[in-house]
Point group: C2
Chain length 362, copies 2
């Protein structure tokens, strides 16, 4: 297990020149079939693997893509991050490319990082995520001529490559689903407007409200950050309304789980007095009581697509605007979206007691 075998070694063994061996392995046309055959045999007999650095230096490209982890807010999306990354890494491995993860501490540091990458070029393309509606990164990456694809759109992504879920459609459908169950007061717990996906989801909810023949202006809307506590607080505000909603579209599963907590603490049962739908399709949603109805998008295949798109961009086979892909989320029916019960909120005290007797044993 001494020194790794180099091109030179296999050249020596066959009495060929190094350059011939190189071209044989790279399947050049001016090498005879017989020679190629021989070279290949000796190559994998000796377990030859090209030295990446030399190769990349000569080629001038890196065959390495970077994924910028969203690490601003410590938690939230974490759980499907690793799944997304696994999808990307697997797809890249099929091409012999590598995936390196970048973890900037702040927005400014992220922009600096881009500058550095632009100079060293040791990463030849980036996947960014957690896009803002107003996202400085797009402009900068274009200026720096770093190929990139974003997981999620922004105001500035018309001409760039992206993979996004149709958030608006998802929330329109979610709202329609709740309306079809008979709900008339369908609220929305929205995420921070700076996030593009949060805005899209609010838009979708609003569209759904309208399409259900309800009044978007009177529909209850609460904002929150993407946390359990935030969801809980937002739900508490909704419950304090004169006319509390009978159903709530939540911007994320984590927020929805927080909302469930608020509902329970008010002595009500999630999915009974107040229906709930989350978003993300987290597995844990199925493990809580009652299991959370939600919408899911496939994370692994998203990772794969992101990787494939970026490769083709880096290779120059396609233009950014050719790589825009909208995927559809699908409803995961569990147990928190049900027809409304008779108007509980007009006789709250009475209802609260009834609930206590029924909240266990689902």
């Amino acid at each position: 297990m001494g020194e790794p075998t180099r091109l030179k070694a296999i050249a020596a063994q066959l009495n060929l020149s190094q350059s011939t061996v190189s071209r044989a392995l790279n399947d050049y046309q001016d090498i005879s079939a017989r020679t190629k055959q021989l070279v290949r045999e000796v190559a994998d007999e000796l377990g030859y693997q090209p030295n990446m650095h030399a190769r990349r230096l000569a080629l001038g490209k890196s065959e390495t893509l970077g994924y910028v982890m969203p690490w601003q807010d410590r938690q939230a999306t974490e759980s499907f991050l690793s799944e997304l990354m696994a999808g990307m890494a697997k797809a890249l491995a099929a091409y012999g490319w590598d995936l390196t993860v970048l973890v900037p501490h702040s927005v400014d540091e992220e922009l600096e990082l881009f500058q550095k990458i632009a100079r060293t070029r040791h990463i030849s393309g980036l996947v960014i995520s957690r896009t803002y509606s107003d996202d400085r990164r797009f402009q900068l990456l274009r200026d720096l001529q770093i190929p990139f694809v974003s997981h999620g759109r922004s105001n500035d992504s018309n001409a760039t490559a992206w993979l996004d879920v149709d958030n608006e459609l998802a929330f329109a459908e979610m709202t329609a689903h709740l309306a079809s169950l008979g709900h008339r007061r369908i609220a929305h717990i929205a995420g921070p407007e700076v996030y593009n996906f949060a805005r899209q989801r609010t838009d979708g909810w609003r569209r759904g409200i309208g399409e259900a023949g309800l009044d978007p202006h009177s529909a209850p809307l609460e904002m929150t950050d993407l946390s359990f506590e935030g969801g809980k607080a937002a739900m508490q505000r909704l419950l304090a309304l004169d006319m509390p909603p009978t159903a709530v579209c939540c911007v994320s599963d984590v927020v929805a789980i927080g909302a469930m907590q608020a509902i329970r603490e008010a002595g009500l049962v999630p999915g009974r007095e107040v229906s709930l739908v989350g978003y993300d399709g987290l597995e844990i949603g199925a493990w809580i009581e009652p299991p959370l109805t939600t919408m899911r998008q496939p994370q692994q295949s998203a990772g794969r697509r992101l990787a494939e798109m970026l490769i083709s961009l880096v290779e120059g086979r396609t233009r950014p605007s050719d790589n825009q892909e909208l995927v559809r989320a699908s409803l995961v029916r569990r147990e928190t979206a049900n027809p409304p019960v008779s108007d509980w909120s007009e006789g709250r005290q009475g209802v609260r007691q009834t609930t206590r007797e029924n909240s266990g044993g689902f």
Copy 2:
């Protein structure tokens, strides 16, 4: 934003040779302070960043570490994976090193991957996780002379570098805690024995049982895979015993959450008739009803330490056996570990009714 600036450019601008510039930037002793100063100024005025591939080719090392994602069983540990990776990436970034993620589909593919890395050397060290008691990877990595540190020990890790949590101590403490609350029948839902950590945890539980003056042989023990469903099924088996346990030590939070489900479905209340302690410190544990008592180990700092240890190994500053670190998990007191209620299991029917009335409104 045309071509990135190279050594040559800054040499030309200062009428110096390329080699002088290189040595100035690398702080060689035989370059005058004045020259170094000048070179540095021009360097960052021009935004110079060394070409990684050239540098790594010349140096013969890669300044890139790899993290082998545990992807055998699709889920389980996912949630803290990204946190761990973020910790690693951040630590590495401080040294200017990169982290690439590797996602083998199977054990065999993982071993092949190691072979490849040994030849290309484009990754100069590995962090592996999800160690088995009997783990082929240790031997192979040693043979291939790839520096590595494992997150978790194995039978074969006496002389290698590792960072592990003291699983045995953690479960001994967990058991002691339950015993101190008054429990006498403390069961264990164990993970697959192939995983070293699962075995350690079972050992710890057994030790705790003994130290509490109880009989390890009669203490109920159930095995399961590391899944929600597995935990649920195991708990069901425990509940079906003649003398069901009043407390259960679960190998992981996910398993514990599954167990809670089984308890609820039996008409009982987790933390009341049956106390539970999980392990991992997952955030979601705090969001369920009732919040799950568990044990936590810091993931981000673990990532950082793993990275630091591996760097010092790759640099040859320390030997593997100098890098063995045992960290301690700490109990996170939530609401599923309480004193036992009076012997419910001898009058189960009656208890069941009582429970129904009290299970809501926590």
